[in-house]
């Protein structure tokens, strides 16, 4: 299982400690004491791997979950007004500008996005039938129905990956089973940890 953000931040602290030992830098215990105060879980927009809602009304930073990004393609929320309840069955719908993945860390990373559904035992199961694709908006086939999930797209420091969503409800599909996405970023030259 991938590390949570909290773990990632602790990992950063670990790097600092290692570097400190290697260089025999002084005054480290004091730094370590304050370092615990830096293990903050921040809202998605401020995180090292920032997830920022785009112009689409179907993604937002959820105030109920500490500003975590939430994708919700469904009926209008309080501050919206449209009558549609969902995507058309037997169709393909693409939502552009759903959210941005911004690399606010210090290294180039490779980003992948994986959609999951729940099985009968509430376990996460990857959706592999191609019916749900969180795609790289700058690198996508213009034909509806042919978008692919972001898979190892490079994002350099300070740069942004624009993510759109394509759902394909033709035939039997997993669209309405979509429960969550996993956004993963791995530093290049990091051995693919």
């Amino acid at each position: 299982m991938s590390p949570s953000r909290r773990n990632v931040l602790i990992g950063i602290a670990g790097s600092a400690a290692t570097g400190g030992l290697a260089f025999s830098t002084g005054a480290f215990s004091q730094v370590a004491a304050d370092r615990t105060a830096t293990v903050n879980v921040v809202g998605d927009e401020a995180a090292y791997l920032a997830l920022i809602p785009g112009e689409s009304p179907h993604a937002e930073a959820d105030s109920d979950t500490n500003q975590k990004l939430e994708v919700d393609v469904g009926p209008a929320d309080n501050n919206e007004s449209y009558a549609g309840k969902g995507v058309n069955d037997e169709g393909i719908t693409r939502f552009k500008d759903l959210f941005d993945v911004v690399n606010q860390g210090t290294q180039e990373v490779e980003v992948s996005i994986t959609p999951y559904k729940k099985d009968g035992n509430s376990n996460d199961v990857e959706i592999t039938d191609g019916s749900v694709a969180f795609y790289d908006q700058d690198n996508v086939n213009g034909t509806l129905g042919e978008a692919k999930n972001v898979d190892g797209t490079s994002v350099t420091t300070g740069n942004t990956l624009d993510v759109g969503l394509e759902v394909d409800t033709r035939g039997d599909n997993s669209v309405s089973d979509l429960a969550q996405i996993d956004v993963e970023a791995t530093a290049r030259n990091n051995g693919g940890s």
Partner: protein, 218 residues
């Protein structure tokens, strides 16, 4: 020493260590986020599709139930239920059916409509008998949905509707409702540009359209 200063020191050390040890500040991150998509029948979907008009049913449009138990728009020109008398389309003729179905923009952005007939009609591979299949604005066959009608600012705003007419031109071959003669219509809506954003795109595939002139296939 204030905390702010100390934090800057920590960051600097981390970066320095990273450069030497080949391991950076942010080596890997994984974030699980809630994501859900609702699927709706055509009447309640973002691109709302309803048979007939608000005030009048059409004998050529109905709904059918998908595998997911949603009701979706279906067109029929084969003398089926709801039609009176005639059993279908005559040969070498052009038929215009006004106000067959209604498209309502139930999404948050203005959209433009277009349509794709697949496979192309009168190709010799299926669709024997149907030479051309067009969709037009309401009761005006001159305003083809793929023509200048939409290009001329004819977008459908949120909450707005248009009715759609169907024109079918037949040739001198039999028009049958055999499966390989079925016509598929993709109705495509494209979101108007809003504030530099891309707008959404939607292609809805109507169930294969039944056409017949009442004669047996051959």
């Amino acid at each position: 020493m204030q905390r702010r200063t100390i934090l800057i020191v920590v960051v600097a050390l981390a970066a320095g260590g990273g450069a030497v040890l080949g391991s950076g500040a942010f080596s890997s991150a994984s974030a699980d986020r809630t994501a859900t998509v609702d699927v709706a029948g055509d009447a309640n979907a973002f691109l709302g599709l309803d048979p007939g008009t608000e005030n009048e049913d059409s004998p050529y449009a109905t709904t059918t139930t998908t595998n997911s138990s949603n009701e979706v728009l279906a067109l029929q020109f084969d003398g089926g239920p709801g039609e009176s008398g005639g059993e279908g389309l005559g040969k070498d003729s052009t038929y215009q059916f006004d106000n067959v179905f209604t498209v309502t923009n139930q999404g948050p952005r203005a959209v433009a409509l277009e349509y794709i007939i697949a496979p192309e009609t009168d190709s010799g591979n299926g669709h024997d008998g149907v030479k051309e299949f067009r969709l037009y604005n309401g009761s005006d066959p001159g305003e083809d949905l793929n023509g200048s009608f939409m290009d001329g600012g004819g977008t459908i705003g949120p909450g707005e509707s248009i009715t759609v007419g169907v024109e079918i031109t037949t040739n001198n071959r039999n028009v049958t409702s055999e499966p390989d003669n079925e016509i598929t219509v993709r109705l495509k809506s494209t979101g108007a540009e809003v504030g530099g954003g891309g707008g959404d795109e939607n292609e809805t595939i109507l169930p294969p359209i039944e056409t017949s002139n009442g004669e047996s296939g051959g």
